[in-house]
């Protein structure tokens, strides 16, 4: 310590300039690593690491404490380490009827909603593509606009429409079509409407992006060669828009499977969906190990569609 300070006094002109430019040069090489490093570490700590913790809790046991699960690793007094892992949470999920039913019902609801979104979204996307330049921009704008308003309030809007004394029932009674209100809110039907309503733009936008790249001359050539419009659609347009269909479908299917808000607000207690079960298991029953196991199983169910989506996303990026 004293030596260095003495040295600094004796040598009053250390190669300062050289050091600074050297540092600058090193930074030139280093900024690339910094650019990668910062978001990398962030995502690792706040996105990847949490999954390992969930996986850990899913093989722990429930304990009446805070946090409500047991440690996997225990150190005995003589320094012997014991590891306790239990798969009871998983066997419990598979044996309990409620969970398997809920998983199957979630997959059913999200699959049917995806098909509905596709059937409604495809003609809309195609209609936008077939419009003139100005109309096309306005229509696209109208599709994106609801994105910027609150998702929660869009679901709420349907509560007002579907309620027993809601707008649809009022109109139907006023028209004399029904005497008694039809029960629509707090049913599976309401959940379908909610999912299709809120996720429709997620279907339309990838379809539109895909159709935009299509070459209209292909359709003209097909027509010149005597193909009927229907035939051209199924043989030319539909196969070429397959990447858009897959991307859109996955963007609806994956989040819809784990959806919490829509089944809770529009389905009430009558519709079993895994997102809602998970949320309640965690917040109301405080059974973290079971909730973690439920989350891990849900993740396994969705790993395949998520990987396919990632593959297409990566391919779309490279195509640009």
């Amino acid at each position: 310590m004293t030596e260095t300070s003495a040295l600094a006094v004796v040598d009053p002109a250390p190669p300062r300039l050289g050091a600074v430019s050297q540092l600058a040069r090193r930074m030139q090489a280093g900024w690339r690593s910094i650019v990668i490093f910062i978001p990398y570490v962030w995502l690792f700590v706040f996105f990847l690491l949490p999954f390992f913790i969930v996986a850990k809790i899913s093989v722990a046991e429930l304990k009446m404490a805070s946090p409500p699960y047991t440690d996997l690793i225990k150190w005995a007094e003589d320094g012997i380490m014991t590891i306790r892992i239990t798969f009871e949470n998983f066997t419990y999920i598979f044996e309990d009827d409620l969970y398997s039913k809920t998983y199957i019902n979630s997959l059913k609801i999200s699959s049917i909603s995806t098909i509905l979104c596709l059937l409604i979204g495809y003609p809309i996307a195609y209609g936008i593509i077939r419009s003139g330049p100005v109309a096309r921009r306005l229509l696209l704008f109208a599709i994106i606009l609801p994105f910027w308003t609150s998702f929660l309030l869009r679901v709420y809007a349907w509560m007002g429409l579907l309620a027993d004394r809601g707008t649809i029932n009022n109109v139907l009674i006023w028209l004399g079509l029904i005497d008694e209100p039809i029960r629509m809110l707090y049913s599976e039907f309401a959940v379908y409407i909610g999912i299709v309503y809120t996720y429709l733009p997620f279907m339309i936008l990838p379809l539109y992006a895909n159709m935009e790249k299509l070459d209209a001359t292909l359709n003209e050539v097909a027509a010149d060669l005597g193909s009927r419009p229907m035939n051209t659609f199924f043989k030319v347009t539909l196969p070429l828009t397959m990447p858009g269909i897959i991307a859109g479908s996955l963007l609806v299917f994956i989040p819809a499977t784990g959806e919490y808000v829509i089944p809770d607000l529009l389905g009430g207690g009558n519709v079993l969906m895994i997102g809602r079960l998970l949320f309640n298991e965690f917040n109301q029953n405080v059974d973290w190990p079971t909730a973690s196991a439920v989350a891990i199983v849900l993740l396994f169910l969705l790993v395949l569609p998520m990987t396919i989506y990632q593959y297409y996303q990566g391919k779309a990026m490279e195509d640009q």
Binding site: M27, W31, R32, V35, I36, I38, P39, Y40, W42, L43, F46, F47, L49, P50, I53, V54, P123, G127, R130, F141, A142, F147, W148, T149, S150, F151, L152, L153, R154, Y156, A157, M159, G160, A163, R165, T167, Y197, L200, E212, L214, A216, N219, L250, L251, I254, P255, T257, Y260, L278, F279, F282, W288, A295, L302, M306, Y309, Q310, G314, M317, Q320
Partner: protein, 280 residues
Amino acid sequence: MYGRRSGFLTFMLAAGMAFIYVPMILLVIYSFNYSKIVPVWGGWSLRWYETLFKSEAVWNAVALSLKIAVINATFATILGTLAGLAMVRFGKFKGRTLFGGMLVAPLVMPEVITGLSLLVLFISLKQLFGWPQDRGFTTITIAHITFSLAYVAVIIQSRLSGMGETLEEAALDLGAKPFRVLTDITMPRLAPGMVAGWLLAFTLSLDDLVIASFVTGPGANTLPILIFSRIRLGLRPDINALATIIILVVAIGVAIAAYIMFRQERQQQRDMQIVDREIP
């Protein structure tokens, strides 16, 4: 691909637009309803706006949500831009596949899983390091940055790939240092993408209910948490009033953004025309 729009497609467009907008229009109309029961008309009134403006809980929630949204958008834009640059411009680097995976996964991850896993992370961190002491503002902001940055990265990546690298290459050929190329050429050209990313991150944060519900603590209610706790019990006319205000704010904001973008595009077209004329 322009062409003739068949009657069927026109019908689907009209029906689709009605499907999207009629519920929202009704939501707005019923906010002016005097009646306490939402779908029963009791005459025009502004009483629910009055109730809303007098509610301290609503104002607190708005303030908290806006604070989180601004900080989230700023950090997410910085991190997302860095991530986008790394993915598009840095070629191959160690761990690129994992990085790419971590960047796409938040876009499709069910919110309940993201929320649950972040909560257990925060609790584990508190056990190990004593931080974060309380859940609320900080934990919600961190959670929002994590998923927002992925959305920003998508925008930045597509903008970077669309931009091409010719200008950067020219600058490098003329002897500019890589860092200067980044700050003087790439960044200014990325600015519109960063603005779009910021706005998207801002709205994503304002909109999030599920993840915030998981990672919040007692007392810290964001606007969606407050709205959700009220509408869970049924229809509420004051929520209709709140919805109307949100729709109005969004409409004004989007109109301004569209106008600015339109002007920029026109300017760019004019610049390109000048370039075409000057350089034969």
